[in-house]
């Protein structure tokens, strides 16, 4: 199998993650193409890598940051997202009474570790990440998947730290709600 064929095999996998992070098919296509081109340009590195996918994901993360940097104006335009603000207010109203107490006490999520590490669980988790509004999902994955520090995200997206914390806060609450509904409340086989 040629190097190009080996790399092409990983394209769908890389596309899935670029799409999840960038929330835009065209941007994701560009980032993945640039990743594969960068890998092709260094065949000597490729030959020494037992973990080709890990190496490609590492390159893709850098290409995604480049894409966000290049389009930071467009990305930042969505950060104020009124729709997600009102949806978050609704989520607050569902979770808490007017006096600040929980409407329904939080469930006990303690499960054997292997359940939270199962393929089934990751499918649900990715579906929940997909459901996050674009700006929220992008910021959350910059933090949790690309593992950028807060000040780096603020710099790349040209948003304030307060704005960043609000977006992350809403993303975490939504993700919690989605996992509660689609995983922790479901009967287990």
């Amino acid at each position: 199998m040629s190097i190009a064929e080996s790399l092409a095999e990983h394209r769908p996998y890389l596309m899935r993650f670029a799409r999840l992070q960038l929330r835009n098919d065209a941007w994701a296509e560009d980032a993945v193409s640039e990743t594969l081109l960068a890998a092709l340009a260094k065949p000597q590195s490729f030959e020494q890598r037992a973990q080709l996918r890990t190496w490609l994901v590492g390159i893709l993360k850098h290409k995604i940051i480049d894409a966000i940097r290049l389009r930071s104006r467009e990305v930042a335009l969505y950060s104020g997202d009124d729709e997600s603000a009102s949806a978050s207010d609704e989520l607050d109203a569902l979770m808490f009474k007017a006096d600040g107490h929980f409407c329904t006490p939080p469930d006990d999520w303690s499960q054997p570790d292997q359940r939270l590490g199962s393929q089934q669980f990751f499918k649900i988790l990715e579906a929940c990440l997909d459901k996050l509004p674009p700006a929220m999902g992008r910021v959350f994955l910059m933090r949790e998947w690309i593992e950028l520090e807060s000040d780096e995200i603020c710099k790349e997206l040209q948003i304030s730290q307060t704005n960043l914390y609000v977006l992350l806060h809403r993303a975490r609450l939504r993700l919690r709600e989605c996992l509660q509904l689609n995983w922790f409340s479901q009967p287990k086989p």
């Binding site: 993650f17 973990q51 996918r53 890990t54 994901v57 590492g58 993360k61 607050d92 979770m95 808490f96 006096d99 600040g100 107490h101 929980f102 006490p105 939080p106 469930d107 006990d108 999520w109 303690s110 499960q111 570790d113 939270l116 590490g117 393929q119 669980f121 990751f122 988790l125 990715e126 933090r143 949790e144 998947w145 593992e147 807060s150 960043l164 914390y165 992350l168 806060h169 975490r172 609450l173 993700l175 919690r176 996992l179 509660q180």
Partner: protein, 63 residues
Amino acid sequence: MKRLMTCKQAASLMVARQDRPLGLWESATLRMHLLACRACPHFGRQMDAMRSAMHAWRNYRGD
């Protein structure tokens, strides 16, 4: 001591501490609230479970 903050405020701090260190006063009042509240420690464990899940997901996805 539980009344120093509501469950909503406590939950908000438990989410916030995933992304930033809490201030001294925030930490102290949250700790007191958690000692006196039955519901909030479960919420805190949910946040911990989510952090573990994201960590496991990153490993699962091969990076």
